[in-house]
């Protein structure tokens, strides 16, 4: 089984694994229909386990190695992905989808399970936090709510002591994470040539992230040879699909302006074709391209650092009748396939570090459209329904082959999406009939971990058998939770990202009649990921809390103030109010002071005439004021007495 899984890797890689040079790198190029180019970079380094355990690093990156040692990680798979693979026109996915991630960041790893659940969680937390720092990604946000423990979807790729016992699989996703140059730079830093020489010199952030689909992966696993010598292998891949035309645009004119009229290719067979009327001709074939034009730079030198690395660096998968030109430094050469009618042509970069290598292909018109392997499965997943209260999930899986397929369907949902499992329906119908799916399909196995609010997300895993040439629709309803208002991100109205579903197609067994033309050989499993989804949640108007706070505060202040006032105030006659001793004394002192001041003023003006007058006047005023208040008091008291 383990050997079969190793075989799943591309043929070029197998040789690398078995011969075990300590480092090798490889670039695979394949033009895709409609003017796209697939470029798959593969960098493999390995070290013996004994060297790893004694912290002796050579090609294995030390920074990553120490993190893995610290968190007792047995096997690590890390993915950064962007864009989407177009199944319909590009065919099956590279590397059977095994080195591919869902949109954003995805990580799963087998950790040492010694010490029980808390210890594992501690290790997981330490792993994601350290990787977060290493790769400049928000991996530290993978907490309990974003972590699941899949049962059927993943199996360890490496050979582990004890047959895989004593370790635990944890899986986390960050669908909202935008993969960018800041993630590519640390990725390249892990390589021995750091993107300065060899095929990694093509990896420029501008080109990688202008791709229609790109995925970066890091896989660390132990492999043991037959002799029992074990090695730890790190495999780094970058898979990108570039739009040839867009990538070839010159750097000084990157804007796709309308071309001058003379450059338009018109369909002159149209009856209305005229000098000012031009029906654009359908593009056929593939335009001329070269590595240096697409990647903006030729391959600089080579990165043949390890001993015993005799493998080729670049392979090109084009039709055998296509002319391919290679230029090393100044000399041009033709790249021919080793055998007649072989699709793949290989070449090895010259060892000299100074020489630049470029590959160029002329324009090519296909006689028949290039053969593409049909994907093993088509999958699409959508959120249905509108409004902010509930919605539905709708997944369509379509098996184009004439044999049935067993798949594992994994969904890890955020806790604020609350699925109702009783509404889960799996219906199937033959693809060519136009009826709606009616035949219910019973999942062979189902693993379901319900969500806990703010603690754990939902984990749903289904083992399904999809009949031949049929479509399976999987639907369920869900409620949208209302978050606390501090739990919303700054861009609350955008919605929340839901991680892609992961589909694992299990290897077809021999007893099913396997007559497919599919690329996957018997005994291999392949992976798919749907696109990520946007879940709109009920969002408060965030200017509202402040309005509400201000308004309610005012209302409460007014209401409470007046009621409190009425409750605690006692209405009495003015005469009934005992004057406090202090007040009397203060009033006396004040009166004296005023008297003195008044007399002083009088003396200053007219020589002490008004000495007594000022004091008297003050007293009269005071009495008048008191009388006024007293009258009010009397009337209110009378009122209250009447009521009694």
């Amino acid at each position: 089984m383990k050997l079969a899984q190793l075989l799943a890797l591309p043929a070029t890689l197998i040789s690398a694994v078995l011969a075990i040079p300590e480092y090798s790198e490889h670039l695979h190029l394949r033009p895709l229909p409609n003017g796209y180019l697939y470029a798959g970079f593969n960098f493999t380094a390995s070290t013996s386990l004994s060297a790893y355990e004694s912290q002796h690093f050579r090609y294995f990156p030390r920074s990553l190695g120490q993190i893995l040692q610290h968190s007792d990680t047995r096997e690590l798979h890390l993915r950064f992905a962007l864009g989407r693979w177009d199944d319909e026109s590009w065919g099956s996915r590279p590397r059977d989808g095994k080195r591919e991630g869902g949109t954003g960041v995805e990580i799963w790893s087998w950790l040492d399970s010694g010490g029980g659940k808390p210890a594992v969680e501690e290790r997981w937390s330490s792993l994601v936090n350290s990787l977060s720092g290493l790769f400049c990604a928000s991996l530290n946000f993978i907490d309990g709510t974003k972590t699941t423990r899949p049962v059927l979807s993943f199996e360890p790729e490496g050979t582990h002591r004890g047959g895989g016992n004593g370790m635990e699989l944890l899986h986390g996703t960050l669908p909202h994470e935008v993969v960018c140059t800041e993630n590519l730079t640390p990725f390249l830093k892990l390589l021995p040539c750091k993107g300065k020489a060899g095929i990694s010199s093509l990896l420029d952030g501008h080109k990688v992230f202008d791709a229609n689909w790109q995925t970066m992966s890091i896989d660390v696993r132990p492999i043991c040879g037959l002799g029992g010598d074990c090695r730890l292998e790190i495999q780094q891949t970058v898979d990108i699909v570039l739009d040839i035309k867009r990538s070839m645009r010159p750097r000084n004119d990157p804007i796709p302006r309308p071309r001058p009229v003379e450059e338009l290719e018109c369909d002159e067979s149209k009856s209305y074709h005229a000098s000012d009327t031009c029906y654009p001709k359908r593009k056929e074939g593939e335009m001329a391209w070269s590595l240096s034009k697409i990647f903006g730079t030729p391959v600089r030198g080579s990165c043949h650092v390890a001993d015993g690395d005799e493998s080729h660096d670049i392979s090109l998968e084009v039709s055998p009748d296509r002319a391919v030109e290679v230029s090393h430094g100044g000399s041009n050469d033709t790249l021919a396939s080793h055998e007649q009618n072989q699709l793949v042509r290989t070449m090895r970069l010259p060892d000299s570090a100074r020489q630049h290598t470029d590959i160029s292909l002329p324009q090519h018109i296909f006689q028949d459209s290039p053969h593409q392997n049909r994907p093993t499965l088509y999958a699409s997943r959508q959120i249905t329904g509108c409004g902010q209260e509930r919605g539905g999930m709708h997944t369509v899986l379509h098996n184009p082959h004439t044999h049935q397929q067993r798949i594992v369907y994994l969904e890890s949902l955020p806790w604020f999406l609350r699925p109702y499992m009783h509404t889960l329906k799996v219906l199937t119908h033959p693809t060519n009939s136009h009826d709606r799916p009616t035949i219910p399909l019973k999942p062979d196995q189902m693993y379901y971990t319900p969500a806990l609010d703010r603690k754990r997300g939902t984990h749903l895993e289904l083992l399904l058998t999809i009949p031949a040439q049929s479509t399976v629709e999987l639907t369920y309803d869900f409620d949208k939770a209302i978050l606390r208002y501090t739990e919303y991100p700054p861009d609350a109205n955008r919605g929340f990202d839901v991680a892609p579903a992961i589909i694992r197609v299990l290897p077809s067994t021999h007893n099913t009649h396997n007559t497919s033309t599919a690329g996957n050989e018997i005994g291999q499993d392949s992976y798919f990921r749907t696109t990520s989804l946007l879940l709109p949640l009920p969002t408060p108007d965030f200017s509202m809390p402040y309005n509400v706070i201000i308004l309610t505060s005012t209302v409460i202040a007014l209401g409470f103030g007046s009621i409190f006032n009425l409750l605690v105030r006692r209405f009495v006659l003015a005469e009934e109010v005992p004057r406090s001793a202090v007040a009397v004394r203060v009033a006396g002192v004040l009166g004296k002071v005023r008297g003195v001041v008044g007399s002083l003023k009088g003396r200053l003006r007219g020589g002490g005439q008004g000495r007594g007058g000022g004091g008297v006047a003050v007293g009269v005023n005071g009495v008048a004021a008191e009388g006024d208040g007293g009258m009010n008091g009397v009337s209110s008291v009378v009122e209250s007495r009447k009521e009694r």
Partner: protein, 645 residues
């Protein structure tokens, strides 16, 4: 004196008892006058782009040059496609979309409206944003037939050219869906409902197939309406259509962006509601407001964009109007810039207003300014309802007092001793004792009439179209006769009392008022509908039983001749009142509306039925189940002759 005692005496205050009709009238007058001050500068505002992310018109648009040649070719192609059968047309459209490089799908649909099948097929293509992650999408729509039923040659050709042009850009953060619905009402409705439907249910009136290709959450939709044939025609202005179903409006930011891009960046004037020469005067603003209120109150679709708005997808239609010097490339650049703006959005449009009344393309009144108008109207009904309730609770003392005045041997009105503290007073018992209210009959009558309202609602929305005018005639006759018949039955059979009539009217008005207040809930949802129904139903507040037969209230001095004269006068007055009342009945108003907009009744009813059964327009529900029952109850009260004392 205790508060309750004070209030009890207030109950009999002559001022308060006479006040409600005046108060109610005041509410109506102020409510209507309110709309007339909205166009003033002090009560409206200049529009502004609230969402900073949009950055309207900040990008250079490159659509032009050789794209014009391509556009002309597409326009010819669309013209050629229009000459072939529907099946070939769909195939040809799909082919063009596929050549552009989009993922193409078709969606057949069928609706049954007013006994007729409406069938069609939507064709759409998905442009996957090269670097987008399939979570969001925006829709560029060019219906095959525009809202007036003309073939949208240039609009469709422009949409195709733009799709081809957009395909070359890698800047799209959202997918772009190019939607070509077969028509402007059913097609978009079928498409957008299928896009959001959780379970594709087939009903007798609705068969919409599910969509084979979908993208993420729709952020906005822009429809192009440029029905100019293969030889082109330059336009003067862009008319921006924005009304959604049931008066729901798109976010004001989308409109503002379109206006800012068209007039600010491209120099194309924008108009609202087809008012081409808008001088921004009070009069023009008021006209725009009136047209907006009428359109919104109808609640019907106004263009292909309308179907999107109820699904919280902000949508507008850009319609070319007039003769001028702007060509298709200007419209193309406007659309390009508009899409670049929407593409800039980081969040769903939420910043700006969803409730507004436009007075000009760049001036609006917000909900805080216009809502009191509808609320006052709703309030007028509630005031009358409360007054009637209070009246119904009073023992009929006045007549007793009068009788006592003429005949001295009669016993004095019953008095009651009221002691408050030390004070003692003698007051007529009637002022403190509320009369027993008999509410079963009024409640039953109101309920029965409300239930009966489902008959016109159902018949007008489900009969075959050829029977619709007849049905309306029947409903008119029935509704005009129903109050008289019902009141005769009630007075003869059930011997309904004045009090019960008052309670019945009170119930009905409360329902109307609160349902207008629910319509005030409706007024917050569809202000215009609540306002218009409120104005049309306003006479109901003043309906009191007509005096019947020789009244005792006339002075005896006039003698027999005078009495006969008075009788004739009274009959005439009653007749006039009845006629006036009949004129404000819902079916008569519908006829008047048809006469005013010079459309035949059948057509109007068909539109209403379409809206009801396809798009869920609830205007007819408001007319028949809210306004009509209130009118009938008012009619019963009017013709009841005051009932038994």
């Amino acid at each position: 004196m205790a508060l309750s005692a004070r209030l009890l005496t207030l109950r009999n205050s002559p001022v308060l008892l006479k006040l409600p009709p005046y108060l109610s009238a005041l509410c109506i007058v102020i409510g209507i006058a309110w709309l007339f001050i909205l166009p003033l500068n002090e009560y409206s505002r200049q529009t502004y782009v609230s969402e900073n992310a949009i950055l309207p018109g900040q990008v250079h648009t490159y659509f032009g040059g050789s794209e014009h040649n391509v556009f002309r070719a597409y326009r010819q192609e669309v013209y050629q496609i229009s000459q072939v059968s529907e099946t070939d047309r769909l195939a040809a459209l799909e082919n063009v979309l596929r050549e552009i490089g989009l993922k193409v799908a078709a969606q057949p649909y069928r609706f049954t409206v007013a006994g007729e099948d409406v069938e069609g097929t939507n064709v759409y293509g998905l442009l996957q944003g090269p670097r987008a992650d399939a979570t969001e999408a925006m829709v560029l729509m060019a219906a095959w037939l525009n809202f007036e039923g003309e073939i949208n040659y240039s609009g469709l050709a422009l949409a195709l050219t733009l799709a081809r042009y957009f395909k070359r850009w890698s800047i799209w953060s959202k997918d772009i869906i190019l939607l070509i619905p077969a028509d402007s009402t059913y097609g978009p409705e079928a498409w957008v409902s299928a896009y959001h439907s959780t379970s594709p249910d087939i009903t007798a009136t609705r068969n919409v197939s599910s969509l084979p290709i979908k993208a993420g959450a729709l952020q906005a939709a822009v429809a192009l309406d440029y029905p100019v044939g293969p030889w082109g025609h330059r336009f003067d202005k862009l008319d921006i259509l924005y009304d959604g179903i049931n008066g729901a409006l798109p976010n004001l930011d989308l409109l503002n962006t379109a206006v800012a891009v068209a007039s600010g960046q491209m120099g194309i004037g924008c108009s609202i509601h087809g008012i081409l020469s808008h001088s921004d005067s009070y009069r023009d603003r008021l006209t725009t407001l009136a047209k907006g209120v009428v359109t919104q109150s109808a609640g019907q679709a106004t263009g292909p964009h309308s179907a999107f708005v109820p699904y919280h997808v902000d949508a507008i239609t850009l319609k070319t109007v007039g003769d001028g010097w702007h060509d298709e490339m200007s419209l193309g650049r406007t659309t390009e810039s508009l899409f670049r703006g929407i593409n800039n959005l980081l969040e769903h449009l939420h910043q700006s207003f969803f409730f507004y009344i436009l007075l000009n393309a760049n001036r609006f009144a917000s909900i805080g300014n216009y809502l009191p108008a509808a609320m006052l109207l709703a309030g007028s009904f509630t005031v009358t309802a409360l007054a009637l309730w209070v009246q119904s609770g009073q023992v009929a003392v006045q007549s007793a007092a009068k009788v006592a005045g003429t005949d001295r041997t009669e016993k004095q009105p019953e008095l009651e001793v009221v002691k408050i503290g030390d004070a003692v007073a003698l007051v007529p018992a009637a002022t403190t004792k509320p009369a027993e209210r008999e509410m079963l009959l009024p409640a039953a009558v109101v309920l029965a009439i409300h239930l009966a309202s489902f008959l016109p609602l159902y018949s007008l929305n489900s009969l075959h179209r050829q029977y619709l005018p007849t049905a309306l005639q029947a409903i008119t006759a029935t509704s005009l006769l129903l109050p008289a018949l019902a009141s005769t039955a009630l007075t003869r059979r059930f011997e309904i009392s004045t009090q019960q009539i008052q309670i019945m009217q009170s119930f009905s008005l409360l329902l109307l008022g609160t349902s207008l207040a629910t319509l005030a809930t409706l007024a917050t949802l569809n202000f215009s509908l609540a306002f218009v129904v409120g104005v049309l139903a306003s006479p109901l507040s003043f309906v009191r039983p007509l005096p019947r037969g020789t009244s005792t209230g006339f002075p005896a001095v006039l003698g027999r001749v005078g009495e006969a004269y008075q009788y004739a006068l009274q009959v005439t007055m009653n007749l006039i009142a009845t006629l006036l009342y009949a004129a404000t009945s819902p079916p008569v108003v519908l006829y008047a509306l048809c006469w005013y907009i010079s459309q035949d009744v059948g057509g109007l009813l068909l539109e209403m039925a379409k809206g009801w059964s396809v798009q869920g327009v609830y205007t007819s529900f408001v007319i028949w189940a809210v306004w009509w029952p209130a009118w009938v109850v008012g009619g019963i009260a009017l013709s009841s002759g005051g009932g038994q004392r």
